[in-house]
């Protein structure tokens, strides 16, 4: 029995490089850097004061009139996801209740959504007056807070911060009634969400799906967490654009950021039936986990990454020689980059010196649950445009790394791209895209 084939027919992205997938891809091609000093709050006192931040937008420009009121219930993560979803649908020529109710061309019950989302931290400035009302003599008193503070919190407060609300807002705007899931595997979420959505289409539970990942990490609670565990670089504050250096000998840690990235995917039969433009095929995926009790880091031999890639290649039915590009997780944390390199090298074997490897986080930053999806959007453009951009901030390899990091842009036909990711907490994932152009 042949598997139903699944293809990408729309792209959407909001990243530090631009408010669209097109602008993001331009930035990647030019090697621009979206990382700068934090503007969202004053990072005085933070060991890391830099991040990848999305430019100015007005969320009301991106939602239909019927959903304007609901923008009050949107955390930044929700806003970014709503913008990226609108782009992916328009790019895929899908008309919905929210975009063009007269010309809806998709069956809402056969339409799925599957997003990777982060742990959304609340807006401290919004919460602070209520917390202050719970202070007695300069100390927080929970009894006073219960009595005097709670009523100052907006009644629907919780709904802004549930991770599944990203998919729910999008589903409400565009009438997506099929299977809906929210994957919360931190930095591996984007790939897992795309893999799961592809499986849902493959088994016939939906014909079309919006999938990807979203996270707005430029929040003091999130940023301090990455500072505390020592993943965020503390040495790039004077020179943000060269701070994040995946696989480079001078790397000192990661730069975090915010993004939403989505792909519209559908059964090949469905895409052909409606004459949709096809970017690439999702050929296979694989997943595993690290087994490292020091769970903020990858295990030194990268075994979890290796197993995920092996499973993805087996699922795709291809070998390492069939790969023309690997987009790694590559965070700029030296010990993790080295461990990931070992995992990738173990799979590529003799092909290691041939297969180009292109890390993106030196330009986009580490956008957490969005990261893998940003890379899949980039991979879709690589295969359609026939160009692999150069890695930014890569000069000398980190000692022990044999990967063939792309130093100059390569114009070539790319048959297959492997994207892989891992996260603190253990989960690893890999997705293989195939070029469907003749």
């Amino acid at each position: 029995m042949d598997r139903r084939r699944v293809v990408i027919t729309g792209l959407g992205a909001v990243t530090p490089l631009g408010l669209s997938a097109g602008r993001t891809w331009e930035g990647l091609r030019e090697g621009r850097c979206g990382i700068g000093l934090i503007r969202a709050f004053d990072p005085v006192g933070f060991t890391c004061k830099i991040a990848g931040q999305v430019g100015q937008y007005d969320i009301r420009d991106y939602v239909p009139k019927s959903h304007r009121k609901a923008t009050k219930l949107m955390s930044r993560d929700i806003e970014l996801s709503v913008i990226a979803a609108a782009e992916a649908l328009a790019d895929g020529a899908v008309a919905t209740r929210g975009t063009d109710p007269e010309r809806i061309n998709i069956d809402p019950e056969r339409f799925a959504i599957n997003l990777g989302a982060g742990l959304i931290s609340c807006d401290l400035v919004e919460l602070a007056p209520a917390v202050a009302a719970g202070a007695r003599d300069g100390r927080f008193d929970i009894r006073k807070w219960g009595a005097d503070g709670l009523s100052l919190v907006t009644p629907l407060w919780l709904l802004k911060y549930l991770p599944n609300m990203l998919a729910c807002h999008i589903g409400i705007i565009h009438d997506i009634q099929g299977p809906s899931n929210t994957v919360t595997c931190a930095e591996a979420s984007g790939h897992i969400a795309i893999a799961e959505a592809a499986a849902i289409i493959e088994r016939g539970d939906s014909d079309i799906a919006l999938c990807g990942g979203v996270e707005a990490k430029v929040n003091p609670v999130v940023m301090i967490r990455q500072c505390l565990v020592g993943r965020a670089t503390s040495r790039g504050n004077d020179n943000p654009e060269s701070a994040c250096r995946p696989f480079d000998a001078a790397a000192t840690g990661a730069a975090f950021g915010e993004a939403a990235a989505m792909v519209l995917i559908e059964g090949l039969d469905h895409a052909e039936g409606r004459g949709a433009r096809i970017y690439a095929e999702i050929l296979g995926s694989g997943q595993s986990t690290n087994l490292n009790p020091v769970y903020e880091h990858l295990e030194p031999d990268g075994a979890g990454v290796r197993i995920a890639i092996e499973k993805a290649l087996a699922d795709a039915g291809i070998g390492p020689d069939d790969l023309d590009l690997v987009i790694p997780h590559g965070t700029g944390i030296p010990q993790d980059d080295l461990a990931e390199a070992r995992g990738i090298e173990a799979v590529l074997g003799a092909s290691t010196s041939q297969v180009p490897v292109w890390p993106t986080k030196s330009m986009v930053s580490n956008t957490g649950a969005a990261a893998g999806a940003v890379d899949v959007v980039a991979a879709a453009r690589v295969v359609t445009d026939g160009v692999i951009p150069a890695a930014r901030n890569y000069e000398r390899p980190i000692e022990g790394c044999r990967l063939n990091i792309v130093r100059e842009p390569i114009e070539t036909k790319v048959r297959h791209v492997l994207c892989c990711s891992y996260t603190y907490g253990g989960q690893t994932a890999a997705v293989v895209l195939r070029n469907t152009n003749p």
Binding site: L73, G146, L291, E296, I307
Partner: protein, 441 residues
């Protein structure tokens, strides 16, 4: 109707739970049969001035008795510590060796995965609140981030901060079991662990794994969690009577009782279970997922999404609504859920709706949020195996609008061949799993 064709059939070969009623499956069943309530006044933090002063807590639980790596697992958030205990119990029943580095249970660890519907851990409340109090200037309505960072850096622990991430419980299970197969965590509010069980079933059916530890872990019994639910007016405020507060489908229901816990089922391909000689407790035959796509704040009035998920699960199982013997409802004890859920059941089960027993164990267990669906699935397996349906407790004042057979107050002896488990979540998430008695075929 015929079942859809998958490569593999999926059976349940082990179960484990840590919940307000017990720290094991046997204890859970005894409590449900006795109609016990897990609710009482909040002892986790001082909620005496909150609109709701009670909850359903896991009490006297010690994770270090459940694992040979106690220091590592004890640093997890509450959900993580619970799920380690639940998984240890489930693995023991399924004959999965988690105590040695070189297991001899015959399961290839790269073919063993994990799928949890798991929630976030609590913020470190003392430091979190102290930092805001110190840094907030109420008159100028602004935060002094330098002051905030100083309190936060001085007070916060890196491990505790990282353990708040919702993927950490799955990480703990990987370390516990050595699983190297596909590992996922999802968070679709109160429907999460039913989704985890459903998607994990699909992964085995597709051939991505032979064994999956599936279930949920969650505790929202922390100040921001209770505050959030209280502001939504989702919690019961029956502070004078915690044990009768969760009263699904009754006229006097006024909200759910916030619980916590973890539940794990071992899902396994039938071939793997047979090869290992593992006990087959039930077969998972259907899964359906849908979204209301209606409103951020409300369920679809007619239960459209819930009905769609039930229909999708029946279709997946290849059975008719007439084949269902027992419905384990989401039954939260909120005015809205119980009314909408009743409508959804009527829409799907038509002429048979009023004659299928449909109970809510949340009346005793409380609402385990992300972990609720998996905990309730375990009660479905027990109903099949024990030939007894658990009751809806505290149902003494029926709502005249709600006229299904909710199995009021007393368990009911009856053969259950097919049980259907419903979970609905905030934002309009609907997930349904159907299990069937395994007859050795």
């Amino acid at each position: 109707m015929t079942a859809r064709q998958y490569k593999h059939r999926v059976v349940i070969t082990g179960m484990g739970i840590v919940c307000p009623l017990s720290h094991d499956v046997q204890g859970l069943w005894e409590a449900l049969m006795a109609g016990k309530s897990g609710a009482n006044y909040n002892t986790i933090f001082d909620a005496s001035t909150f609109p709701t002063t009670f909850d359903a807590e896991v009490k006297d639980y010690d994770v270090s008795a459940r694992t040979s790596h106690p220091e590592f697992h004890a640093q997890g958030n509450r959900g993580s510590t619970f799920v380690v205990g639940a998984a240890a119990e489930a693995c023991r029943q399924a004959g999965i060796d988690v105590e040695t580095d070189h297991p001899t249970d015959g399961i290839d660890r790269t073919r063993m995965g994990i799928y949890l519907g798991a929630g976030e851990g609590s913020v470190d409340n003392d430091v979190f609140m102290a930092a805001i109090v110190k840094a907030w200037d109420n008159e100028r309505h602004q935060m002094d981030w330098g002051k905030w960072a100083q309190v936060a850096f001085d007070g916060m622990s890196p491990v505790r901060e990282l353990e708040q991430e919702p993927n950490m419980p799955a990480g703990h299970l990987a370390v516990l079991t050595g699983a190297r197969g596909p590992t996922r965590s999802c968070l679709t509010a109160c429907a999460a662990s039913t989704q985890a069980v459903g998607e994990a079933t699909m992964m085995i059916r597709r051939g991505d794994a032979d064994v999956m530890l599936a279930g949920g872990a969650h505790s929202m019994i922390h100040p921001l969690g209770v505050m959030g639910f209280n502001r939504l007016t989702a919690l019961s405020t029956r502070n004078d009577s915690p044990q009768t507060a969760s009263r699904p489908f009754s006229a006097g229901r006024d909200g759910f009782v916030l619980g916590e816990g973890a539940a794990i089922v071992i899902l396994e391909s039938l071939e793997s279970a047979r090869k290992r000689g593992a006990p087959v407790l039930a077969e998972v035959i259907g899964y359906g997922s849908s979204a209301d796509a209606f409103r951020v704040t409300d369920m679809h009035e007619e239960g459209r999404g819930g009905a769609q998920a039930i229909i999708a699960a029946l279709r997946d199982a290849g059975i008719s609504y007439q084949d269902v013997d027992y419905i384990n409802t989401h039954g939260t004890s909120t005015s809205e859920n119980d009314s909408v859920e009743t409508k959804a059941i009527k829409a799907v089960f038509k002429d048979k709706a009023k004659s299928i027993p449909a109970s809510s164990v949340k009346s005793m267990l409380g609402h385990l949020i992300g972990a609720a669906g998996a905990a309730e699935l375990i009660t479905c397996v027990l109903a099949i195996r024990e030939a007894v349906v658990p009751p809806t407790a505290n149902l003494h004042d029926p709502d005249p609008e709600l006229d299904l057979d909710y199995v009021p107050n007393e368990p009911r002896k009856m053969e259950v061949n097919v049980a259907l488990n419903e979970s609905f979540g905030f934002g309009g998430q609907n997930n349904v799993v159907i299990i069937r008695k395994y007859r050795g075929d």
